[in-house]
Amino acid sequence: MLSPAFLSKLRRLLPAHCVLNEREDLLPFESDGLAVYRNTPDVVALPENEAQVAAILKLCHAEKVAVVARGAGTGLSAGAIPVDGAVLLVLAKLNRIKAIDPLTRTAVIEPGVRNLAISEAVAGHNLYYAPDPSSQIACSIGGNVAENSGGVHCLKYGLTVHNIMKLRAWTIDGQLLEIGNESLDAPGYDLLALLTGSEGMLAVITEVTVKLLPRPERAQVVLAAFDDVAKAGAAVGNIIAAGVIPAGLEMMDRLAIQAAEAFVHAGYPLDCEALLLCEVDGVNEEVSADIYTVRKVLEASGAIEIRTAESEAQRLKFWAGRKAAFPAVGRLAPDYYCMDGTIPRGALPHVLKRISEMSAEYGLAVANVFHAGDGNLHPLILFDANQPGELAKAEAFGGKILELCVEVGGTITGEHGVGLEKINQMCAQFATPELSRFHDVKAAFDPDKLLNPGKAVPELHRCAEWGAMHVHGGQLTHPELPRF
């Protein structure tokens, strides 16, 4: 609990309406997008400008009070879950787009600006902001930087770290770090990369300069059905080997295809084991050349059916099933766990075979959706939490899948982050010397461990259980958001 003396000092820094500590005001902040992890915050601070952020940090540093930064609260790893005795620092009110420079192709924005709002604001200049996490309608850029968010276009356009140029960030002792600049590099260490994906552990971001790209002239998608998952996996590698870098390359297995088709009637072929969606974009002629190549490769790779979207409406229809895959699978069972492992693409047939074998061992069905282009696998484990023991079984199964990802040279999290959820799985990914260096990096910025304590990097003595995203009754938090 925070002392009344501390709370009154906090109130002196902010207008009255910017400090919340009545229970009913605090409840909306008790979880992020991973709603099974809940904790009511002691107090919520909603600063309205950078000076207030700095003042709050200085106060907390002086009083040795922990701070958890939070953006839109759409994260999927409990990275922004409140910590007892900490201030929950919500940056949503810092939501101005401060400058747009169409000729330089940059925008300067505050952390609370929504991802999609950036592309909307610059659309008139025929520009856009490339990273497009599935929650882009709601998630904010500060959180995107904290998580190094990706999306379906990562293989071609990169993650957040590839699309930002400059940050204003504050250390816990209230010092401003101006990281990066308006040119293409900066002197000294690459702190821009270090802060991106640091999950609010190193500094609090108050301004981001993002890179904007010209909108592609044209985008077109090809759908291909396969009678064998391994053939579809091989086709992915063959497309890339043919010299095409698709803007999006997605794969679904039989259960996911059937669920999606039953849910949104995208017109997917049903008598197949795997479906690939391959989108190419760019200059008109480039797209024509790539579509030709992709179709040839898919044929040679043994696709049993190939369709090219002939119109924008058809393109969107092809995508509709994939984008609705999570809620669609949510209709098949009362609960599902979503895992977020990344694997080398070549390991896909082996990993899917092992998942299918484990599915039989655990007696729990799995639907697989896969960002095939960048190797990011989202197995959805179906279960019923009302059946005694099923939750524990699903958790154990999920843990095994992530161990499998590490075993084949992959990672426990491709885009959702570690947060609190995968803190134990970090022990499978990293050995003690690496974890110690992570603590060293933390100490270089925040020696008192006041920023987001207990998240992202496990203490060395703690290497225990697994966890995963738990969805009950098909209900996600923010059910209105597409997830893919």
């Binding site: 169409p102 002197p187 000294g188 570690v418």
Partner: protein
């Protein structure tokens, strides 16, 4: 081989002996003077793994860049950041430690953008592994990218995994006679359109621009932009990448990294512009303070790239808060400061 290096580093840590990490020695001119015994990575060579379909290559630090590029070319792939060799036997380790990129950088990304993972040995002799061989990975802090451009001051890079890309099917280079201001404007206007740009340069009244992509896309863009096609374009870009033109023989050579749309700096010195306007190479004897101020007010920073280092060092001094973080990181990764002492900043 790795064990021998680790032994030497442990011994150097024990005895507080500074070491100079050296690969092919192609970039010894870059950075501040350092002190110590040479620790060569040349024997730590060889490609560990290359999966063209995964777009991932892993090689040991001492592997020559030329060998890597040769192997990639056999599969019609490339290092998209077009790293400079500077006419020497540049190695992968040096390439990543220096973090320098070539003409394709503004359009394809920098060296740091393609690093997926590193193996390294820290200043106590502890081998470490960060990142991996997959494109999407958000587990733990991004220490791999922290090593890029750190000039070896945080540790000895022993192995690097890189994302590689297919070579474009076709390339074409166009030249336009344009004054500096117009050239800067054009480079930025064109970069904001869906054109397959892959390199830009302006020097002595001539804008040179490279297009890369499907043959049809390059043809259409060429028709749209006009200009004169340059023959022997590959040699032009390679000479620029490696600074193998007489302009770069001048001393000192300053590198001003600026906001790309910065109008002509009008400093009255010989100049070569690259990266869509974001880099202005100057052959200038002006005081370092003037050039640093010019770069800073243009949103960037100035580096003494070749020539005698000014009193405040080769690289733009860091603001106190940033310098503090740098010192802390250095202290944690190399507590006795044995690696490349003084190469990046004089106090570590």
């Amino acid at each position: 081989m790795l064990d021998t290096l680790i032994e030497r580093i442990r011994a150097a840590h024990e005895s507080n002996t500074p070491l100079i990490i050296q690969g092919g020695g192609s970039k010894t001119f870059y950075g501040n003077a350092d002190e110590g015994e040479v620790l060569s990575t040349r024997a730590l060579a060889g490609i560990v793994d290359y999966q063209p379909k995964e777009l991932v290559l892993t090689a040991r630090a001492g592997t020559p860049l030329a060998e890597i590029e040769g192997l990639l070319a056999e599969q019609n792939q490339m290092l998209a950041f077009e790293p400079p060799h500077f006419g020497g036997p540049a190695t992968l380790g040096g390439c990543i430690a220096a973090g320098l990129s070539g003409p394709r950088r503004p359009y394809a990304g920098a060296a740091r953008d393609f690093v997926l993972g590193v193996r390294m040995v820290d200043g106590t002799g502890q081998p470490l592994r960060f990142g991996g061989q997959v494109i999407k990975n958000v587990a733990g802090y991004d220490v791999s990218r922290l090593m890029v451009g750190a000039l070896g001051t945080l540790g000895l890079i022993t192995e690097v995994s890189l994302k590689v890309l297919p070579k474009p099917a076709a390339e074409s280079t166009l030249q336009f006679e344009l004054d500096e201001a117009t050239a800067i404007l054009k480079m930025n206007q064109w970069a904001g359109q869906p054109l397959p740009l892959s390199a830009t340069s302006w020097h002595a009244g001539l804008l040179t621009l490279r297009l890369s992509g499907a043959a049809s896309a390059v043809q259409v863009a060429q028709a749209k932009l006009g200009g004169e096609a340059l023959k022997d374009a590959a040699a032009f870009w390679q000479r620029l990448r490696d600074q193998a033109t007489p302009f770069f023989d001048k001393r000192p050579i300053w590198r001003l990294a600026v906001k790309p749309t910065t109008p002509p700096l009008n400093l009255g010195d010989a100049q070569w512009i690259e990266w869509g306007g974001a880099v202005r190479w100057l052959a200038s004897n002006r005081p370092a303070a003037n050039l640093r101020e010019a770069a800073k007010s243009a949103g960037g920073h100035a580096t003494l790239f070749r020539g005698a280092a000014p009193a405040d060092g080769v690289f733009a001094p860091l603001a106190p808060a940033l310098l503090g973080v740098h010192r802390n990181l250095k202290q944690r990764f190399d507590p006795r400061g044995i690696f490349n002492r003084g190469r990046l900043y004089s106090d570590f």
